[in-house]
């Protein structure tokens, strides 16, 4: 199943409400209301085992994202194959 949230705030609320939890999350960086770094931190608090692939067009966000608890970081635009490969890697490693 695939679901989506409009912004970071909605993502955190949705994640908290979902049972079972999503296997993997794709997190954007710049979003209205709550950005990806804050949302990542909050989701990791709810579930420290959550797997979050952070996507941003801004390479400088990499460090912040990984510090916040992102499992992986991809620079936009990302090729489909590369995205799938990363999802598989994240799922295999955990």
């Amino acid at each position: 199943m695939v679901g989506s949230a409009f912004d970071g705030d909605e993502a955190v609320k949705l994640f908290g409400a979902l049972n079972p939890r999503p296997d993997v999350l794709l997190m954007d960086y710049r979003m209205p209301i709550k950005d990806g770094v804050t949302a990542t931190k909050e989701i990791r608090v709810i579930d420290p085992a959550s797997k979050i692939i952070f996507l941003s067009a801004d390479e400088t966000a990499r460090e912040q994202a990984l510090e916040a608890g992102a499992t992986s970081f991809l620079i936009k635009p990302v090729r489909f194959a590369h995205l799938l490969q990363t999802i598989n890697q994240v799922l295999d490693n955990h």
Binding site: R30, L55, A57, D58, E59, I75, K76, P77, V78, R79, F80, A81, H82
Partner: protein, 492 residues
């Protein structure tokens, strides 16, 4: 003691006293003939007492042009009139030198009250006068400099009362005259009282303030930017009695700086906007194209078209990434250190392989860990990425062959890295231009992006060089040889 002996004793005491004094003591009779000439007089004039006694003082010592005035005074003295002031008179010494003396005169009279002898007690003020004159000259010279220099100069009390200003400052602050400006206190000119407080704190702490910038309000209300350089001056007791310094109108410079900062912020905003929003758009296009591409029914010619479009999107993303890197090159401070060439080089190779998933890149190199050390920073990966990316991009062949050879030249302290490809090469007419697309503003950024220009900029940062040669000399169509010189570092 007999009266005679008493008189002799007094005379003896008088002569000793007269000779012991550091002052000039001279006595003349009413005709002006010298009756007394003490030791100091002899030292200063070079004449002995015997040489001058009985001779006319005016004829012997006084320059011709000063004689008439002196004669008037002398006649007054002879008539028993006490002089009202101490005259300054030149004496000509035995060697012909003129010395300036200041005299106090007195006379003695006989029982009838007639003046019989006149005494002069004087000091030689020649040296003192010369020093004073030199001081006056120096003062005048500095005053003239103070008045003519185009920078505002001032002196204030520690409380900010203005003591002195030069014409440049009067004009800078929009006053008609110096007197008018001196009625104001320094603190009145500050637009922000906080700035004055800050300045006071600095001067109290350090006693010297350099390059302090503040906004001043001129008399006509106009606000200007000024730069202050001030130091505290202490008196002989060690107390600060004034501040003196210079004041420069830097409004034009400040406006230019503000404009530059605004332009910089604008460019940062635009680059950020482009990097973020355009790449989000690129992401959308890329995903859509890839979804279409995943349709197995898709005809071959459309698939080829899609693949070409995807390459274009990637090129667009790469261009945007390079623009971002350009910006960080401008803003990041330059901190070079000795680094192993191998890790950044091989990171660049891996990044290029990822960037061309549909090409096979065969790269051979002698660059191994701990072999070559260069002075560089974190941009080294970008540097090789762009050279290798350019080589892989230009080669139409799906099998891209690149050879990279490094060598050390100990005589000129560079590590030379040659990157040879088998792409279409670079015609002679383009060999210099490909590194400078950014600078050829009018022509704009053309076809192959700004990767090599970025390489050039990184090398400028390192003090290195790059140029391109033909892989096979004289035939550019056989591929290019990019030669990079990097400053050699010590083995880490």
């Amino acid at each position: 003691m007999s009266p005679l002996k008493e008189t002799q004793k007094n005379q003896d005491r008088f002569s000793r006293l007269v000779d012991a004094t550091g002052a000039l003591v001279v006595g003349v009779d009413t005709q002006g003939c010298i009756t007394l000439f003490n030791k100091r007089c002899q030292e200063v004039t070079g004449y002995s007492a015997e040489e001058v006694l009985g001779k006319n003082i005016v004829e012997l010592f006084i320059p011709v042009d000063e004689r008439p005035n002196l004669m008037v005074r002398f006649q007054n003295l002879v008539q028993g009139k006490s002089p009202a002031y101490s005259p300054e008179v030149h004496w000509i010494t035995k060697s012909g030198e003129q010395r300036l003396m200041r005299w106090n005169n007195t006379f003695i009279t006989d029982e009838a009250g007639e003046v019989v002898e006149i005494f002069g007690i004087g000091i030689d003020i020649t040296d003192w006068k010369e020093t004073q004159h030199a001081l006056e000259e120096t003062e005048a010279k500095y005053r003239s400099l103070f008045d003519s220099v185009p920078v505002g100069l001032y002196r204030t009390t520690p409380e900010g009362q203005i003591h002195d200003v030069n014409p440049a400052l009067v004009e800078m602050l929009g006053f008609e005259s110096k007197a008018e400006l001196l009625k104001h206190k320094a603190s009145e000119f500050y637009v922000h009282a906080e700035a004055r407080k800050q300045f006071e704190a600095l001067i109290i702490e350090a006693e010297v303030v350099r390059g302090f910038e503040a906004q001043f309000q001129r008399r006509d209300g106009e606000i200007i930017w000024i730069e202050l350089n001030t130091r505290a001056i202490r008196d002989k007791n060690g107390d600060i009695y004034c501040y003196e310094g210079s004041l420069e109108d830097i409004t034009k410079r400040k406006e230019a700086e503000i404009k530059l900062l605004a332009a910089h912020q604008r460019s940062e905003f635009l680059v950020d906007l482009m990097a973020h929003d355009l790449n989000n758009i690129n992401q959308g296009i890329m995903m859509t194209l890839e979804l279409i591409e995943s349709d197995e029914q898709l005809p071959k010619h459309l698939r080829e078209g899609l693949e070409a479009s995807l390459n274009q999107v990637e090129r667009s993303a790469e261009l945007i990434a390079n623009v971002k890197r350009f910006q960080s090159l401008e803003t990041e401070p330059r901190r070079l250190s000795t680094r192993d060439l191998s890790p950044p080089f091989h990171a660049a190779v891996r990044a290029v392989e990822r960037a061309f998933p549909n090409k096979q890149i065969f790269l051979s190199t002698n660059i191994q860990d701990q072999t070559y050390w260069v002075y560089s920073d974190g941009f080294l990966t970008e540097l090789f990425f762009n050279i290798l990316h350019n080589a892989a991009k230009m080669d139409r062949n799906p099998m891209v062959k690149i050879e990279v050879q490094a060598s050390e030249n100990t005589t000129n302290d560079f590590v030379k890295v040659e990157v040879q490809d088998q792409g279409p090469g670079v015609p002679d007419s383009e060999k210099n231009r490909i590194f400078n697309r950014y600078l050829n503003g009018a022509e704009g950024v053309r076809g192959s992006g700004i990767g090599l220009t970025l390489v050039q900029r990184i090398l400028q940062r390192y003090g290195g060089q790059i140029w391109v040669e033909d892989r096979v000399a004289g035939d550019h169509t056989q591929g290019a040889n990019f030669v990079v010189l990097l400053p050699r570092g010590e083995r880490g």
